[in-house]
Symmetry: C2
Subunit: 397 residues, 2 copies
Amino acid sequence: MQSFPLEGITVLDFGQVYNGPYCGFLLAQAGARVIKVESLIGETLRGRGMAASSAYPFASLNANKESITLNIKSAQAQQLIKDLAAQVDVVLENFAPGTMARYGIGADVLRAINPALIYASSTGYGNAPGPYRDFLGMDFTLQAMAGVMSITGEEGGPPLKTAAAFADFLAGTHLYAGIVSALFGREKTGEGATVDISMQDCVVPTLSTALGSYYVAGEQQPRAGNRHPGKALAPYNVYPAADGYVAIICIREGHWRNLCTAMDNTEARSDPRFATMADRSANMDDVDELVGSWTQGRSRAEILQITQQHGVICSPVNDLADVLDDPHLAARGTLEKRRHAAFGEISQFRTPLRFTDIEPMALRDAPALGEATDTVLQELLGLDEDTLAALHRAEAI
Amino acid sequence: MQSFPLEGITVLDFGQVYNGPYCGFLLAQAGARVIKVESLIGETLRGRGMAASSAYPFASLNANKESITLNIKSAQAQQLIKDLAAQVDVVLENFAPGTMARYGIGADVLRAINPALIYASSTGYGNAPGPYRDFLGMDFTLQAMAGVMSITGEEGGPPLKTAAAFADFLAGTHLYAGIVSALFGREKTGEGATVDISMQDCVVPTLSTALGSYYVAGEQQPRAGNRHPGKALAPYNVYPAADGYVAIICIREGHWRNLCTAMDNTEARSDPRFATMADRSANMDDVDELVGSWTQGRSRAEILQITQQHGVICSPVNDLADVLDDPHLAARGTLEKRRHAAFGEISQFRTPLRFTDIEPMALRDAPALGEATDTVLQELLGLDEDTLAALHRAEAI
């Protein structure tokens, strides 16, 4: 592959917050031209009514995009969107269910104008008929609805969310996957498609381990903290280190033997309590005490070095500063240090979609609100300056 | 779109456990022919040395595939893989780093044989140079390395994993996305590609909210349980219900007003402690007490009904049985009830990649180990029965 795979593709990205914008980010970093369409005051994450902490995700997820502003409640802007849909390959959005249709610019209307168009949306529960279709959804409530919270948390404690917004990002990745699948299918047929991604659908497969334990036991197992959901693997836990914590997991007998060697503990290797995975699982507290007593006097770096030398699956529990300065993420070109107006130097991520033949695309700053409105409408629709001025006056753009 | 987008594409799927097999599952359900390649004793998840609980994920992730067995340590099988690589569009694998190359069937070798081939791999840390490239990685340790554990957990408690294996599934989805992007790019150039997905890369963007709070405060914020990582939104928590818990989040002032109406609490709406998002965040304990006192006497279903009627973002905290019987997942055709040899009736998921013009593909049972070995090698390589018998005797297949 000598060039970015989506070169020549043009996208109208109505995304907001994480799900849609991450999809647009992946598209842009894969070579597509991504035109971010915002309301006249900017999308939700740009700042209005949101915490200052939204500035970092906004900057990251909207790199390599152009920004135009359109008031989709205005009939003039709705006509512009129809005209733009005739010129582009993809329209993507993650509004509340039915928003685009309510303004007369839904999938059916736009695909009738441009039969080759890929119209792609992602909502909490998808657009197919069903009792939750019109429910509002956020990452936080999807983690609740899709069962993730029920299996996460301390032993004996309440259900707990994960603080990583993975439902949003998983849905955004599926949205990208659906769009590119449809683009590939279109090569043969010339026909567009409507992509319908439900965040709930995307989260369900991540329950696989817990569902396996559920079906074996015939009922849900108690929350297990950092241990295996079915208490069927040991060692499998987070252990104290001198400067924090480490995560260690042994999924095969060989891993356990390797860990005993790494700990320089021949007694443990011949201890009948620890002979097989089933024995170790039955004596999990003893296993955890043994491993923890070895880790607690050592630094995370030392533990990582020793375990990796011995073929044990281990990682330090890194905090955010560790991740931002991670030498591997820097070496791979995944994180790029850049200037941000409010924060000074920040680390921004590039696309995880990597091809060995080409360098990952350099990041460009997220666009200022509407900075490309006039140029895009001139270029794609041939609007002249008088028309643009009238549209501005009417607050359609 | 009148047909599945990947019809006509053939894939050799060397995936094991979740990451690679989920990618293969998405490919199969998008219309590709997916030939699962296993060792003579089957891949890790098929059962050897793993807990009984692996049967459910194995059945789910390998639906709609064919299975062939090849001993990749055998020179004869290595030649067969080279011959097969000349006939297929995609090879995917998620072995430990460098495994395929060690057996002489790495990306460079196979792409030299078939310049149109897409060779796609996913490992914990990717194949590009870097200090962690050769580290073993599992979902559990990637959650540790990529910072997710450090931000998840109870206030004052230790770092905690999420029990949903989201790092694996997020990487598998990116692997699919990379493959289909390369297939699309190949339409123009005829040239294949090497896709290099790092689980670590895929997880980093999910930290966006926490990184936003980090940059605002200049340091990592304490773990926040079910609250907002930056304590900048309220209500935002899991609240007790009469029969479990519910998750409620208000991200705009309107949501709070709606919630006050839903709770029939006009006093709260005019209470100066709760006037703005900043006020509510500063008085988070009071907000949570107020909301919790309303939820705790009501069932999850009643709370869901009232909040949805009033435009409040809310979800019950569902357990696994709730998810498996979820009426919306059934209505969308996302979960299909099927017979499983060991468990009786189970609910299996179909692909989240959905297109409104076509029904999602019906599930076919995961294949028995090696059931298609002979037929695939006959069909794709023209091997005769004597040759196949000799390969079986030599334990190459």
